[in-house]
Symmetry: C2
Subunit: 362 residues, 2 copies
């Protein structure tokens, strides 16, 4: 079912307000989920709203957090998010990184005691407004095995980097450090289709095409897919994200990362607080005049767009292009929402005495 | 032929001195090449020495550079390397990043007007001595096609990250953002063997197993190998390295990066100066007490070492493990050097009136 994106966002904001979030934070969190829906990361949009509510009901998420900086230098900080929505802790930490960049050229903020922060790119893109480069990463529920192993020790641990250009749109990469994001496997599950080899392994660590492998005790694979194709590099990247997000901040890392789903209990022997994120901002003019940089970015982007395609009609894309096209389309025509998600939202409406009328806003 | 590593390093230093490098810089550059040989990155060790000499003969490399900081904030700088050996410019920039980290928590230095800087990990690892995290990246001769293209627009653009631990050895990742480094293809060429699909494409952009594909106008592939396995993510990473190294610093990017080999002329329409690198340093205690962090790193490392292997007898490796094992072995028993490289070194000895006696030092 296709639903108007503004309606979805307004409803999402209402739900967060009913949880007790201050209006401004509820709006911010709703915007973050909404951007995921607009950009085509459907698994991280309204589809996830009831998941946050369930964590809140289990008191694993704090709607009125007292977030505070617990360690600081001119260019770095650690933020204790007090179990806030990551959707709120992320922008707060990113703003702090940008404040530091304004002062000393760059800023880096590690966050502990947080929760799922939505799409990594949302936070990184905040830097663009101020002629800064933004970086964002987070660890996540352990679903990924290191190369040579069948233990699920890493999350899909995404990395996002947003770089401003002048007349061209910005360069925005936002990628899980696995072959594919979990959402891609879920799409195949719904369609009843197999996955390509290299996306997942079964519970014995053997290559599989079973899109349900994860639900049967298997694991997702680091970018590269197998050792011959560099899965140890994907493992390195995922590990780096885990360490920056959580060993630097004092959050849980590796197998200790608390699961997003409320029906799974967090490990009883935590090594830190909540999950962790890591944010960075570089002021462009801490390196060279911003206008000069952005003109070269335009040239970089145009040059790569004009790379010779393998197949006539194909075009080389700039990171962020597919999401921009989808955003335009979905702002105009609405966001496709699975029937199960529609029902989920209807249930939330009834729980919180709100109105959710998908049909009237389709 | 197996040659004593100390002998190779001393000879390398002599060659750089004959080129006119100050003794201290010649030693530094020799150490960088030597570390590549010890760590098993044979393509970046003495095998490359004559290449630097040829660039110097063509006046594309400056043995007595006047390197200077051309832009600066408390946490960032741009270094103009004045066409120095990257092997010398890299450590200088890394020291500057570490100085800034000592002052304000983190330091970031972009370098322009440089040359090939050896292995990325050498520079990142400098940070370990001072309880810092080190980052290092560089762009390189364009040999890699963006996803959907047959244009060679990116280098193998490596990323290295070095993170200290307490009793465990450090976490050191050092990876090309391609499926494999070019050196891996060269090994197959010498053996007359085919490459797995996903390593290279032919001149028409089609998948190939031809290990000579690159020499026939083909291209290397970004990490992921093909679109279905996430090659657009490898493309994103390589692009990020290109932009950080060269658009931030004012060096050449994309197809304009000057080739390492002296027989290929640099593009006649440069968009910047030389090639570019990017370095970073975080002081650990800019986030939390260093000892606390390092104890958690030990726990991280031990936990991952104990991940359940797929095959009995296998063990999950920590980034840096294979290189450490090889270094131990090669320090004890010597470095294997191809016959063609031995002849190369003998020619350098005769050119510079030096002695190179491989047999006596085998």
């Amino acid at each position: 079912m296709i639903i108007d994106s503004t309606y979805l966002k307004a409803f999402t904001q209402q739900v967060f307000e009913k949880m007790g979030c201050p209006a401004e934070e509820a709006l911010l969190a709703a915007d973050c989920l909404n951007q995921a829906d607009l950009r085509g990361v459907d698994s991280h949009g309204v589809a996830r709203l009831s998941g946050y509510v369930r964590l809140w009901e289990k008191k694993r998420l704090n709607a009125r957090p007292n977030m505070r900086v617990v360690h600081e230098t001119p260019s770095t900080a650690v933020l204790d998010a007090d179990l806030a929505l990551g959707l709120v802790a992320g922008p707060k930490a990113m703003r702090l990184a940008m404040d530091k960049a304004r002062q000393v050229g760059s800023g880096w903020v590690a966050v502990k005691n947080s929760n799922h922060y939505g799409i990594a790119g949302f936070h990184a893109m905040m830097a663009l407004e101020e002629d800064m480069i933004g970086l964002s990463m987070t660890n996540a529920s352990p679903l990924v095995s290191p190369t040579f192993s069948k233990s699920r020790f890493l999350g899909t641990n995404p990395i996002a980097v947003a770089i401003p250009a002048k007349d061209e749109p910005p360069f925005v990469m936002d990628m899980a450090t696995t072959t594919v994001a979990n959402g891609k496997l879920e799409v195949l599950q719904r369609k009843g289709e197999d996955a390509p080899l290299g996306w997942a392994q079964d519970k014995d660590g053997q290559p599989t095409t079973d899109a349900f492998a994860l639900k049967k005790g298997g694991a997702m694979l680091p970018l590269g897919g197998d050792r011959e194709h560099g899965s140890h590099k994907g493992y390195c990247l995922g590990a780096m994200v885990d360490i920056f997000s959580s060993v630097l901040s004092g959050a849980n890392y590796g197998p200790w990362v608390p699961p997003f789903v409320a029906f799974l209990e967090p490990p009883t022997d935590p090594v830190g607080d909540g999950i962790g994120h890591f944010f960075g901002a570089f002021r462009i003019d801490a390196f060279r005049p911003a206008n000069e940089f952005k003109e070269h970015m335009d040239n970089w982007i145009r040059t790569f767009r004009q790379a010779e395609p393998v197949n006539a009609g194909d075009q080389v894309l700039i990171p962020g292009d597919p999401e921009r096209m989808l955003t335009r389309e979905r702002l105009a025509n609405g966001v496709p929402v699975q029937q199960a998600v529609v029902e989920d939202l209807e249930n939330l409406a009834s729980k919180f005495e709100l109105t959710f009328n998908a049909k009237q806003n389709a």
